[in-house]
């Protein structure tokens, strides 16, 4: 599975998203802050689309009377439009060399899978008129086909530097953070708390290569952080003996992440790169849909 270019990434995410209906992300109902847009709120308010006729009330100004409707009967009617507001989802995916790694040629790298999932989600959101942006990279949130195009290009180029997590985002924004979170629970707790304090809420997408969980190595092995010499390599004398202890540690790591997410009231979705991407997308769909009710 060769490393995809931006176009390929786009194609894959589109085909992945093809089976889902458009997704409206839940919007925090905080009036005035949220940008106006095409997001129908199923209630009367400011907007373009017709919502309902209601009887004229004396408090209404005369100019609001819909004369065409009123002429049909004896009563006066006022035309109300639907309240429309768009939500914005900010996305981020880690891009260090550890993310750009796969244990086998048959699997995608973690970075690729994360990119595909984020883009697929963005595609679904944009279909429903929501706006998406890459955290710290996009100038402004966009929507529509051109917006998706732009997003794909930005995401493909995005280095996924942790610094970009500190970028300015409007309060009550929704976030999607995809990473392997291997820097450790403490580092990430600090980062996520800062975001949660904006206030913002979101979803953590934990991408795991199967080899990271099962540790399938045997014999004498020199372990090295991919593509980097900064972290000193480790020589494991008999890898099969270290397996049980490692798996235990990794489970602890996962549990710590879940704990952190729960406490911050974020959603944690765990995805293994050897599983189909649709499973993760379904979970993401559910997570973003949830808040709507």
């Amino acid at each position: 599975m060769a490393a995809p270019d931006a176009l390929e990434l786009r194609r894959r995410s589109e085909s992945l998203a093809a089976g889902y209906p458009g997704l409206l992300a839940q919007a925090q109902r905080v009036a005035a802050i949220i940008a106006q847009g095409v997001h129908g709120r199923r209630r009367a308010g400011q907007g373009e689309t017709f919502w309902q006729y209601r009887n004229y009330d004396s408090s209404d100004s005369a100019s609001r009377i819909d004369w065409r409707r009123s002429a049909r009967g004896d009563q006066l009617f006022v035309r109300e439009t639907e309240w429309e507001a768009a939500n914005t989802v900010w996305m981020w995916r880690g891009g260090n060399t550890g993310m750009d790694w796969r244990s086998s040629d048959k699997l995608p790298t973690k970075k690729d899978r994360a990119s595909v999932l984020e883009l697929a989600l963005a595609s679904l959101l944009m279909r429903a008129g929501e706006r998406c942006a890459i955290l710290g990279e996009s100038e402004r949130p966009r929507t529509g086909t051109a917006g998706l195009e732009k997003l794909a290009a930005t995401l493909f180029k995005s280095p996924g530097d942790p610094e970009t997590l500190n970028a300015q985002i409007p309060a009550h924004a929704r976030l999607l953070i995809a990473s392997d979170f291997l820097e450790g629970e403490a580092v990430w707790r600090e980062r996520i708390s800062r975001l949660a304090a904006r206030p913002a809420k979101g979803v953590l997408l934990h991408i795991i290569d199967p080899a990271e969980e099962s540790f399938p190595y045997k014999g004498r092995v020199r372990m090295q952080f991919p593509g980097s010499k900064i972290i000193a390599p480790l020589i494991v004398g008999r890898a099969e003996r270290a397996q049980a202890a490692y798996i235990e540690k990794f489970t602890v790591h996962k549990a710590a992440l879940a704990d952190m997410a729960r406490r911050l009231d974020w959603t944690l979705i765990t995805h293994h790169t050897d599983r189909p991407a649709t499973a993760a997308l379904t979970a993401l769909y559910g997570a973003f849909e949830k808040g709507k009710r």
């Binding site: 993310m99 392997d180 291997l182 202890a245 540690k249």
Partner: protein, 912 residues
Amino acid sequence: MNFGALSFMAPLGLLGLLALPLIFWLLKATPPSPKNESFPPIKILADVLTEEETPDRTPWWLLLFRIGLIALLAIALTRPVLTNQGAQTVRQLLLVVDNSYAGAANWGQIVREADGRVSAARRANVNVALAFTRGDAPVTFAPAVEATERLKSAIPVPLAADVSGVTKRLQGLDLSGAQAVWLSGGIDFGNADDLARIISGAAASRILVPAAERSPLLAGPLTETERGFRAAYFRADTGSLRETEIVAYGSDGSVIARAPLIFVPGNKTAQAEFELPADLRNRVSRISPDGAGGAGAVRLLDDTWGRPVVGIIDAGQTNTQPLLSDIYYVEKAVGDNADVFKAPLAELLPLGPSIIIMSDTARTEDEALVDFVEAGGLLIRFAGPKLAARADELLPVELRYGGRAMGGALTWEEPQGLEAFAADSPFFGLSVPDDVTITQQIMAQPGGETDARTWARLSDGSPVVTAAPRGQGRIVLFHVTSGPEWSNLAVSGLYVEMLKRIFPLARQTPAKIQSQSGSWNAQRVLDGFGRLTAPPAGAQPISDGAFGDIVISETHLPGLYRQGARLTALNAVRNPEKLTSTAALPGAVAGGYSGAKASSLEGILLAIGVTLLALDAAFAIFVSGRGRRLLSIFKPRRAVLTVLLAWLFAVPQISDAQSAADLTQDTLGLHLAYVITGNSRLDRQSDAGLRGVTLELTRRTTVEPAEPRGVNLETDTLSIYPLIYWPVARDATELSEAQASAVNDYMAAGGTVVFDTMDAGDRIAGVSGPHPGLARISAALDIPPLVAIPADHVLSKSFFLLPNYPGRWSEGAIYVDATGVAARDGVASVIVGSNDWASAWSVGPDDSWTGTVDETLPRQREFANRFGVNLVMYVLSGNYKADQVHYASILERLGPAGTTMQKTPSVLDPKR
């Protein structure tokens, strides 16, 4: 250090086995190098690895393999030898090795035996004295290593064994307590008894003689027979049946003939019969038995063999035109059957010719010539006006005065033919052509003697060729001139055949009777094995007088010796019939060469060890986990495989270039050819087009070509095609050097290339400028100056009368060579056009027309086909119809009578 048949030459090497426990411990202690893996959650892993690292073990099978490997190498380094127990000796050894040409015949066996015995002596640590039967090194007992070295460098010499010399050198040697072995080649060169006596004086003695079937052969004299020649061979040991083959080689080493040679048991001599025609027989320069036989079995042939030396007396009339000189005809007739020298008599005789030819103009009665004939020379003379006027001494029969003329304006008689040759004539069997006639001859006096001396007669019985012995020699007289003045015999093949029959009658003139002061220099000499090589630096010239009974020695090796223009062979064996076998000596063991040899195991063990070492490297790679990556390199990618397969299947279809079978086939018939351009659409169209022309030719003319061929300019033989059609696309690429030279050669050798740029239609539409494809192609070709085709060009008349040359288009201009070259019959080497003819000609597989024409002319397709026919006719028949170009002026020249014919051009046009 010995263990039964196994002994170690360097037993200290066994100490190497002590290293084995050390290696065992080291391998157990050192783990194999780790596999490299990249792993992102390394931080988590780092927390795990707090316990002490226990290294992985070397697998037990690898441990065992490596220990076995080291043990094998250690044993190999001790140089183990498997010895032949019988050859072992404890006494010091005297070895007499026969390196004469007798020994050369079985040199391999002798050396192997000697080597085995010396090696045994070396292992037993006893001294060896080595004596060669030909050589002057002093014979002393010395360490066996020395003898080994000498044996390695020994080669046999092409000389007889110097037995008395060996005997002398062995005189001072104390043989009591020594073992003496004589490795004899099997031939007693005299005095062998003396040597046998010395040998038998040793504590143990042995004389080894090759088995009777392998005893050396000795070449005897050659004798010529009617149908070839006979080679006599001799052998010393007559004990068995012996069958072999004698091979006759040419001077260039090629095999000319083979003949079986069979010795019956008890017979000392046998003969090989060669049946060879004279010209092949003359080319034989050396005969020897099949396989190696030593210098004694080789017979070298020199210039006294086969080709006689013929002298033609030149009367010195240098200003005569060659075709009018009578010497010219006889010289041509002698031709390749002899070495011919043409000179005045005084200069001829020192060359030692066996035959002298004297024409009438060169007639002489020189005393020297008479001496030549009486000493055994053959004189062939021809009659002529001089002889008719006056007879002389050197005649086989008495002649009448004056000549006899037949068939002239003033004679009654018709010119006479020859009668069939009589059975006693040397010409018997030659067939007489009817058209050989004699118009004038010299008459012999009739008589019984004349009758007996006549070799050829006219049909009325009068002698034409007579011959008679004179002294030891012979005179042959042709009663006609040597040239065609008196008869056309001189220009018939019979003349050549008759002379050929006369030549073997000349007694071979031995070279030594010639008085010459120059000495003979070795040109090529035989080596011991009977191969001709360059003479060594020590070779000495032999003075002319001494050549006959020179003693063959190191300075006078057998071989070919040259003196001026003459070449004489000095053969290795002088009197083969006198040599006897050594098998009869007391103590001789015939067939005693066992051929067994102590064999060293060192080489084979080392080879196995090194192979295992290489295997170990492979194991090491796989144990350390790098093997999988190594294998994955070789895993073929599917895409590559697909492309490869596609190429394999596609190639035979794309190119139908000629195979060897095609080539043979194509030379037998007429094939039109087109250039395979690599553009498959063009190639298919060319093929279809040429098939269309082929069809039209077969239908309308007697030219019936076979299937057209696509030719690959680089690899195919172009010269067998009269015409090559070359469609040139605009994107045609430049020619490679090989292609350009092939096309240039083709055009220079008379071929015609038709370039078709196929763009006449585009040009009408306004495309102008030079055709880029043609410009690229023609850059490397030798294209002559071209002109637009003249209105009366032969191409317009070669079969049909054509006003223009249409193809798919009709307006395209045609260019041909500006000047016709006479050598190629006026046919242009290049025809350049743009009418896309192949499109107009093309037919489908069912011979139906599939072409296209633009129909700017009425019946354009018909005229395109007519052009195709004309083109092939033009290429095949050249300027045959060129006179039609000029027929108007020819008729004009014929005068008023011819003018009426100008109105009937249909006579000249069969199809009009």
